[in-house]
Symmetry: C2
Subunit: 140 residues, 2 copies
DNA sequence: TCCATAATTTGAACTCAATACAAATTTATA
DNA sequence: TATAAATTTGTATTGAGTTCAAATTATGGA
């Protein structure tokens, strides 16, 4: 928790109870949750918290570079507490988003064909390993 | 246009006037338009068309693999009339989405770490070449 | 401690792309 | 022509995310 306070202060964000609780959730859950999922859990610890505070805090985290928003599902934003760029796999069956370690030669580039790169995103969509195995079992 | 009819029929989609007009727009505009942009132009040719038909048609096109939805901006779906996987660059300043030709070694893979891949997406976000040049001019 | 100010949080109203759905229209088939 | 099937339409609805002013809390000097 002391670590999380430092992370916020280093990003020039005042570490309020609400922001710490939200960041703590993201720190414990690296499964790319939605704002709603974050709210539901944080609400059990801070019953008075509002959804607007969750959105406000996430926006702050994003603007200050300690959280990355993922626009993958098409229906809602998923939040990733990380700084390092990495790939994702989105399962169209169970909705889970997996981290993938891909040796991507573009990750080191800051410019590409004249464009200034601020973020890099690579992701695949399909059926995840777990869902494939379940499917195979059912067909027997 | 005859070509577009064939594309729809090959995808088992009945080539109605509305669907042809929508696909024709996508064929002429490879700038990854929104549903609203498509509707606005098609409406000038088919004044009676409804937005629901635009959404229905795009859904059909996606389900049958002749159009790819892009979840990049976070606010609305952009549509790409293409089959071949390629990279994109999204300009956070002007909102344009550029096609990028990147030699990506993963594009050939159908499986990755046990997951079944159906789609592959790679995109960068930042400031595009045009916006950078405009910015440079203004600062002088 | 008191008070003024700034920062943060809250909740209700609102936005808007996308969806649901039943009625209306068009097309296909006998 | 008559009937059924497919398609289109318009309205209502959804729901994630935003706006914004009021309420609350934190800050800092007198
Ligand atoms: Mn991740
Ligand atoms: Mn494209
Ligand atoms: Zn899955
Ligand atoms: Zn631009």
């Amino acid at each position: 928790m002391e670590n999380l306070i430092n992370i916020l202060e280093d990003a020039n964000i005042k570490p309020t109870i609400e922001r710490l609780s939200i960041l703590n959730y993201l720190d414990r859950n690296h499964n790319h949750p939605t704002a709603s999922m974050i709210f539901d859990e944080v609400e059990t610890k801070i019953p008075t918290i509002s959804k607007t505070t969750v959105y406000n805090s996430l926006k702050l985290f994003i603007e200050n570079g300690i959280v990355t928003p993922l626009y993958i599902t098409g229906s809602e934003i998923r939040y990733d507490f990380t700084t390092k760029p990495h790939h994702h796999f989105f399962c169209e069956n169970c909705g889970k988003i997996f981290d993938l370690v891909v040796d991507c030669p573009i990750f080191s580039k800051k410019h590409f064909q004249g464009h200034l790169i601020r973020q890099q995103h690579g992701y695949f969509r399909g059926i995840c390993k777990d869902c494939l195995e379940k499917e195979a079992k059912e067909h027997h």
